[in-house]
């Protein structure tokens, strides 16, 4: 059924349809209406779940994990400073191999206080062992939360997962969203599976000091390997969902007008919509641009990107956050992996849209056109450029 839903309500519907049993959360703008909606579903008896109204984000993830470790499907959601406050728990949850799903309303980090979107919060979590996905629109938000319950609870994976949606641009913007029938989701999501359950039936111990650091390091290897296996599971989840609903997003990445492209824009999150328009403009002008939309930052879709960039001449990676003193984290991941896979192309990092500074489609086209021409003319372009809107491009 088509409903007019904000990104946050799409999250709530996905959680409801996934038959989540425990929700624990702490309010932070702009995540709040996700949890408010879930509280309403639960209080009205439309959703058979319990809500733990915790005292902090740290407690939110701790309680969500406690419930998940005890054998029930669980969910939490946060944003920005809340996500940073949870950071220690993110490592612990992934290390425990207990699957659960979290929504992150991606928002910048202070100071100064600022509630608008960028990717500083979510990119700060990329080493924690969580599967991390960024959505472009509200339909994708709903679909991917459901998919991630399937992926995270798959024995080939057994890792927690995040669906990121840009603050306000998705969280508070209403779009038509096809909400699947319950039976569709029920036929898609198997019964919950997890590696172990904390229970009085079995005196197991999770997390005591290891006798062998070699074993401990192998646990890290296993998280890494499971993450790599998750690539296939994610693609599979996308295909299966498509069979039921007709909606596919290409799995780890989605390509737009890539067929005969020689130059690429790479981005993730809501502004991918603007990037599509920018590519259309550039194509109309005769520039051979295509778009690579990164859906999953973890596991990183290295081989799929490499296949596309193999015969390209230019790749512009748009980052909405920066690792100060180095470069944008998406660029760093992409450049390092392309080098490792033997891909030699001109990769430039465009730092834009940080702290919520709006970037329009014509501005993305402007930056892309300008850099394209400089490269064509053989002018020297530093690997990292900052763009502040208008013609303010700091080369």
């Amino acid at each position: 059924m088509i409903k007019a839903l904000t990104g946050n309500y799409a999250v709530a519907w996905a959680v409801r349809l996934s038959r989540v049993k425990v929700v624990a959360a702490y309010p932070i703008t702009p995540q709040t209406t996700m949890v408010e909606k879930l509280a309403e579903f639960i209080d009205k008896g439309e959703m058979d779940a319990k809500m733990i109204r915790v005292d902090s984000e740290f407690s939110a993830l701790a309680a969500t994990w406690g419930a998940a470790a005890s054998g029930v499907r669980s969910f939490t959601a946060t944003s920005s400073h809340g996500l940073l406050y949870m950071h220690e728990m993110l490592w612990w949850v992934a290390g425990s191999r207990i699957p659960l799903v979290m929504a992150v309303a991606t928002r910048t980090i202070g100071p100064p206080w600022n509630i608008w979107t960028d990717h500083s919060d979510i990119m700060d979590q990329r080493d924690t062992g969580w599967i991390i996905m960024m959505a472009e629109h509200n339909q994708e938000v709903l679909d991917t939360i459901i998919q991630l319950y399937r992926v995270t609870e798959d024995p080939r994976v057994f890792l927690p997962g995040i669906v990121g949606l840009d603050a306000f641009i998705l969280t508070h913007t209403t779009e038509p969203v096809d909400v699947p029938e319950q039976y569709v989701v029920d036929s898609y999501l198997p019964e919950r599976r997890q590696p172990y359950v904390m229970s009085i039936k079995e005196p197991i111990t999770m997390g005591n000091i290891p006798s062998s650091l070699k074993d401990n390091m192998k646990m890290r290897w296993d998280i890494h390997t499971s993450m790599l296996r998750a690539k296939e599971v994610i693609e599979e989840a996308d295909r299966e969902w498509s069979k039921l609903t007709g909606r596919s997003y290409g799995g780890l990445i989605e390509c737009y007008r890539c067929e005969d492209a020689k130059a690429y824009i790479v981005g993730m999150g809501a502004w991918v919509g603007d990037m599509r328009e920018a590519v259309d403009m550039l194509r109309d002008e005769g520039y051979d641009f295509g778009l690579i939309k990164i859906r999953f930052i973890r596991p990183f879709p290295d081989d799929r990107i490499a296949k596309i960039l193999g015969n390209s001449k230019l790749c512009l990676v748009f980052d909405r956050s920066v690792s100060a003193g180095s470069a944008g984290p998406l660029y760093l991941d992409l450049a390092a992996n392309m080098y490792r896979l033997g891909i030699r192309t001109h990769i430039i990092n465009v730092l834009a849209g940080l702290t919520g500074l709006d970037v329009r489609s014509d501005e993305i086209a402007y930056v892309s056109r300008k850099l394209y021409e400089m490269i064509e003319r053989g002018e020297e372009v530093k690997g990292i450029v900052w763009y502040f809107g208008g013609d303010e491009l700091w080369l």
């Binding site: 733990i52 005292d55 407690s59 701790a62 029930v72 612990w92 005196p203």
Partner: protein, 296 residues
């Protein structure tokens, strides 16, 4: 319900060969928790000495389900477990086994949150009065005058009144206990397990390593804490305080042993001045005064 030692289960829940120091009060306390709750217990253990006492993975000296958790997170994790167990319909007693640091300092926010929500868990604060696992640094539950590796001249502040703070949360059950009085502790654990909601038990646990006394004297020191009135055993159901039998005589100040008898066994109070002893005496009198007021 009075507990007799003979009636206690013989099954061991903390196994021999664990990694506790000689004379460790936490190992004693864990044994009593096993005796009191048996197979119904799920333990949530934040960073602390018991992280070590369990021994090395893949083995474990604890014959109970144990979830080791980040330092500040224990009560929130326990809330999640308790809610899930209620949904599943599993008759588990979810127990947070946390030190004084994890209870009164770093984990205090989540503790207060779980208490305010009245989540169905038992929080046991096993109080050895400093950060022993990291090497005897002061906590907010280190007593006045005590030496630690971060208070070389003796702590200048008194002990945070955690049991009273928990009573002020209006939780259904708060109690204090001591490793020297196992029957009292076990009885309180069983009482707590029979009540739905948030339960808090504060277990006084003298640490030979951190308090600088001979490992053979753990029980003696713990008992003296009660006999000098320094540690008061009581329970409070729905805020109504009842002094426990082992502490009752010491409501009368005249019957208390001199505080110096407790202090002199411990190297951490070595060289404490008469003036400081007077300060401690005054603190003890005040603590009794408050409790007796609450008990009437």
């Amino acid at each position: 319900m009075v507990v007799s030692l003979k009636s206690l289960p013989k099954e061991k829940y903390i196994l021999p060969g664990n990694a506790a120091c000689p004379g460790c009060p936490e190992a004693l306390g864990l044994r009593y928790v096993g005796m009191a709750l048996g197979r119904r217990a799920i333990l949530v253990i934040p960073a602390g000495c018991t992280s070590v006492i369990q021994g090395l993975a893949p083995g474990s000296a604890l014959n109970l389900p144990v979830l080791n958790v980040p330092f500040a997170s224990a009560d929130a994790v326990a809330s999640g477990i308790a809610v899930a167990k209620e949904i599943i319909g599993e008759d588990a007693v979810v127990v947070v086994w946390a030190g004084d640091g994890a209870t009164a300092d770093i984990g205090f926010g989540p503790l207060s949150g779980a208490a305010e929500r009245n989540d169905n868990i038992i929080h046991i604060c096993v109080d050895n009065e400093a950060y022993m696992n990291t090497g005897i640094q002061r906590s907010s539950l280190t007593p006045y005058g005590a030496w630690t590796t971060t208070t070389w001249a003796g702590k200048k502040e008194g002990k945070k009144e955690l049991p009273l703070i928990m009573i002020a949360h209006k939780v259904p059950y708060v109690a204090t206990a001591s490793v020297a009085f196992p029957t009292d502790f076990i009885q309180k654990l069983r009482r707590a397990a029979s009540i739905k909601g948030f339960k808090y038990i504060h277990l006084h646990a003298p640490c030979p390593v951190g308090w600088r006394f001979d490992p053979s004297k753990t029980i003696e020191v713990a008992r003296l804490a009660v006999e000098t009135g320094m540690w008061i055993l009581f329970e409070a159901e729905r805020g109504k305080v009842k002094i426990s039998p082992f502490s009752k005589p010491y409501a009368d100040k005249k019957r208390r042993k001199p505080i110096i008898e407790y202090l002199k066994l411990q190297g951490r109070f070595k060289g404490i001045s008469d003036e400081d002893i007077k300060v401690i005496e005054k603190m003890v009198d005040e603590a009794w005064e408050i409790l007796l007021k609450l008990a009437t």
